[in-house]
Each structure stands twice: as C-alpha cells, then as structure tokens.
Amino acid sequence: MKQFIKKNKINLAVIGVFSVFTALSFFIDYQPGKLIFREHFYPFFQGMIIFLPVMFILIGLGDVWINRDKVEKHIGKDSGIKGIILVIFLSMAQVGPLYGAFPVTYLLWKKGASIRNIFIYIGAFCTIKIPMLTFEIGFLGWKFSLLRTAASIPAIILIGILMEKIIGKKNFKIKQP
C-alpha cells in the first residue's frame, strides 16, 4: 500500500485536487467545474470502469497460460515463414512498453533468431499485442482496430526485411547493458 501511494504520488494528487474542485463546483454552482465533470470526465469514466477490470482479467489469464520458452525455440535463422508467424504470435501475447521488448530481443538474438525476426518481433510487440487490441476495440471500435492491424502487419514485416538488408547479417549485435 505504501509503495502504491509512493509510486502514484502525482496521479493521486491530481485525482485529489480534481475531486475537491468538482465537489466545490457543485456546491457553489460553478458552471465550468460542473461542465468539465458532466460533459467530459464522467461519460467516459462510466464506460471505462466496467470495461477495464474485465480486460485486465484477460491479460492476467494470458499471463498464466502462455509459455514463452516453448515458442522461442522455433524462431532461429532458417525459420522462414513459420518463424515470422511464430514471432508475431509470441509478441502478441506480451504486455508492457516498448523498452520492455528490448531485453526480450536480446534473449531471442542469443538463441539465434534472425535480424528480420527480431525487428518483426519489436514491431508486432508494439502494435498487435492482444491485450492492447482489446483496449483498442473497446475504445476506438472494430473498424479502427481492423484497419490499423491490416496496415501494420505488412509494414512490420517489410521493416524487418529492410532492417536485415540495411544492417547486413554479419555486423549486427545486441548487447546486454
């Protein structure tokens, strides 16, 4: 609990100030304060608060059920199309920010993954993670999510191939800081 408060100091302060401001606005009938809450904050918060916990339960389930080690064995240098598909599926099951993907790429590289697959992994990790897709569909709709994914997959694969061409197979190294 202590750690939670420490980590969220600024956020909790924002929430605290906003709550007091909103309460006061309703109390003294201050229109802008009421408007910010009623027109902008509340309608969105209401939809979100039911949707979010459900999505996080899905993320938690994915976390317990998906075994990363098994997939990592099959994405080496000569893995071809099968390797690309596996890499995309592997990255889809992940959670976390971009810089969380770098240590994983180090592991992949050490296990012999090709340059192409490593960068496809990063791209897919960033754009088509399943937990993220559920959020995307929920907040931006099916059409947006489908179109963006449809455009992203070819872009990601192309970038992987381009990176391999530009860097060359020999002089690429991933260091572990």
Partner: protein, 158 residues
Amino acid sequence: MKLLIAFVLIALIISFIADKQKTWLGIKKGLKMFLNLLPAIISVLILVSIALFFLPEELIIEYLGEESGITGYIFAAMAGSIALIPGIVAYPMAGMLVKSGVGYSVIAVFMTTLMMVGFFTLPIEIKFFGKKVSLIRNFLFLVAALLIGLFMSIFYQL
C-alpha cells in the same frame, strides 16, 4: 464492448474448467495490474477533460480532424514520438479524443508512433542495438506510422 466482455467470460469459463488454481492466479494478477494503473488512467482522463474544456471543438476538428491534412499527422507523429504514456492509459485517452473531433487516422498515427517510436527511450535502445541501428529503426517506424495514417484516412473519408 459487450462482445469483448462476453469473450472474456467464455475464456474465464474454459480456463476455470481446465485449471481452477491457475485461473484464480490469473484473475488476481490481472486485477492487481488494474489497480496499479488505475490512478494513472484516471488522472490522464482528468487532464484530458480539462484540456477539452479549454479547446473548442471547432479548433480540434480544424487542426486534428479527419480532414486536417498533413498538419494533423505531423502534430500526431511528434506527440506520439515524445510522449511516454503507457498504451493501456493511451487508449481511453484516444477514445475520448476521437469523441471530441480528432480524426481516426490522426489517432492512428499518434498511437502507432506512441508504441513504436521512442524519442526519450532512445538512450535505452542504443544500449541494446547501438546508435545506427536504433536510429534507422525509429526512422523506419516513423515513416510506417505516417503511411498507416494515410491508409486509414482513405477508408475513413469514403
């Protein structure tokens, strides 16, 4: 949203039949993550609510709307490249912005750069890949983000 909730329910039932303990562990893990991120999500929504109050909708539509043209994309790409918002926080925010008149393709550029291009995380990336590779990677993804935006704008303007 309803469809997604139904999907999660089915997943839960299957998981529960397969392994009770694992399922509880998963639920606990997920809810813990949720509680950890909730303050960040709420405070971003508060800040966006306040910003939306001060920015008139016509202004947003003019500069970031579906028909704002290249200025909207450049602004979105810059914001997405430098921002350090976790994706899970960014989606509720994006949903709010779209409802306030920001174009879907502009949001796509913002979200794609937010996820794939990291200006402030560049030092971390360089430690792993070296300078040259990191710069090329970020540049290629930046271009890709703009192309993805263009692709989407075609469909949203139909």
